[in-house]
């Protein structure tokens, strides 16, 4: 099977999957961060923050990811002049595109993270927050010490699914020139139309290997860490 050796040598398929993994992991961290902030805004006592949080979620999750990522490059970078890498570096374009893609993926998935956490907050019994208030904890401390720790544990399954979706959605980064798995697959299919089944098989299995363990891990974690009530 010469295609398989071509995948490793000529096309650097492993490198492409490494980019996919790297994109996923970094974006996941930022998405978790932004998503938590947005979720907190949405349950906060301040009306303006609630509105901003709701607007954010409603706009971002109703926009196709492709558009979000294209806006990061065409809008943020080209028009607003926001670059995320050293302009004089000789790897500027690669670094900048990668980071813009991370930004787009984070912003997009943060909306889903926020919804997952909110659904987690809903699993926390009312008595918990009431007890926290009764002992005099203010809003942020109620969240920080009582509600969020339980909410995260209740949101593990949906968060795991956002992570799986993020892994797969990282393929969209190819539209601004990030050489991840789908970009390489496209080129391989164009060059070798005779063996598209094998090419698709290689990449599909790659993604199964990436996502299946995540699903299993998060399912078992959600059971193990579920708050016993």
């Amino acid at each position: 099977m010469d295609v398989i050796s071509e995948f490793f040598s000529e096309y650097d398929g492993l490198g492409a999957f490494k980019t996919t993994i790297y994109l996923t992991v970094v974006s996941a961290l930022f998405a978790l961060l932004i998503g938590t902030v947005v979720a907190v805004m949405r349950v906060s006592p301040i009306r303006v923050l609630q509105v901003i949080g709701t607007l954010y979620v409603n706009i971002v999750r109703n926009t196709p990811l492709t558009l979000v990522i294209v806006f990061c490059n065409l809008g943020l970078f080209l028009q607003l002049g926001v670059s995320l890498a050293n302009k004089d570096s000789n790897t500027f374009i690669t670094d900048n595109n990668f980071r813009l893609a991370v930004l787009g993926l984070s912003v997009y998935h943060a909306a889903f993270v926020a919804e997952a956490i909110r659904s987690g907050v809903n699993t926390v019994p009312l008595g918990q927050a009431e007890a926290a208030r009764a002992i005099g904890l203010p809003f942020l401390k109620t969240l920080r010490y009582v509600v969020l720790p339980q909410a995260f544990r209740g949101a593990i399954a949906p968060l795991g699914n956002v992570l799986i979706a993020l892994t797969k959605n990282s393929t969209v980064a190819s539209v601004i020139g990030v050489t991840e798995a789908s970009a390489v697959m496209k080129v391989m299919m164009e060059n070798r139309p005779d063996v598209i089944f094998v090419v698709f098989g290689i990449f599909a299995i790659g993604f199964v290997i990436l996502t299946l363990p995540v699903g299993i891990l998060f399912t078992s974690m959600s059971k193990r860490l579920a708050v016993k009530r």
Partner: protein, 279 residues
């Protein structure tokens, strides 16, 4: 309650099929029947083949109209159909279009699947830069610069491998994004066929902003794609092309569509003096 779900599903199906029916309108009149002809062009290449509302403009379109007229089709009887690169062979093979004028380079690999008339133009890979740029004079001046092309195209990689080892490559999925980035100053040059580049530079809103460098480093012979073995049409097309060149109409079309960019086509090969034998 069951009936309700079935009804709901039924409505969805109806809605879906209704919508499909709407989408079906275009498929009706396919080519080759009597006095109508369907011609494949690009819809997204300014200066070559561009959909402008309900009109079509560009060099490919003008050449196609001239050839069709010589073959006895009035302009009102020409139906244009979009032919994205990946679909050109199938469009011809299934008789969905009679001819294709769509920056279609004649290559041996393609000749195995389709036949070509022409060439009607010899283009070459070139560079597009901002009008005030003076230091990019050719592909070897690109070291340390930022070059843009489209994903999956080998043209940018060729520059990196052959001419400028330290060039940085930006890849987008469309050339319009490359041109947008060039205009914003984020990249230094765009590479692909000089005609395509000239088409973008000739757009009214872009005039004076960009220029084509004029150092071609490849040869792309644009042919008229035909169904494999269609020698009859091939001969007619070649006769029409010859007449177009001889009458000066060819030059007029070139000047009109890609002239404003200052593009100089390689005079040794343009206008094409001889055509490939029809086989």
């Amino acid at each position: 309650m069951r009936q309700r779900i079935i009804a709901a599903l039924g409505i969805t199906v109806l809605a879906a099929t209704g919508l499909t029916a709407c989408g079906d309108d275009g498929a009706g009149g396919s080519g080759g029947s009597g006095d109508k002809i369907t011609i494949g062009i690009k819809y997204d290449q300014p200066g070559l083949g561009l959909k402008e509302g309900s009109n079509y403009t560009g060099l490919d379109v003008d050449v196609a109209k001239y050839v069709a007229k010589e073959m006895g089709y009035e302009e009102g009887n020409i139906e244009f159909k979009e032919s994205p690169s990946a679909q050109r062979e199938t469009l011809l093979g299934n008789d969905q279009v009679k001819m294709i004028f769509a920056t279609y380079s004649i290559t041996d690999a393609r000749k195995e699947k389709v036949s070509f008339a022409g060439p009607y133009l010899v283009a070459g890979q070139d560079l597009l830069v901002r009008a005030d740029n003076t230091d990019i004079t050719g592909p070897d001046a690109l070291n340390g610069k930022k070059l843009c092309s489209v994903t999956g195209s080998t043209s940018a990689q060729k520059v990196k491998d052959k001419f400028a080892k330290t060039v940085q490559l930006q890849e987008y999925d469309t050339y319009s994004k490359c041109v947008e980035a060039l205009g914003a100053g984020a990249i230094d040059a765009v590479t692909t066929d000089n005609t395509i580049l000239a088409g973008f530079a000739s757009q009214a809103a872009n005039q004076g902003k960009f220029k084509v460098v004029g150092e071609t480093f490849s040869e792309e012979r644009y042919g008229v794609g035909l169904k494999k073995g269609d020698t009859e049409t091939c001969t007619k097309v070649n006769d029409a092309l010859k007449k177009m060149v001889d009458s000066g109409e060819w030059q007029k079309a070139v000047d009109k569509n890609v002239g404003p960019s200052g593009l100089k086509l390689d005079a040794a090969t343009n206008p094409p003096k001889s055509f490939d034998a029809c086989a």
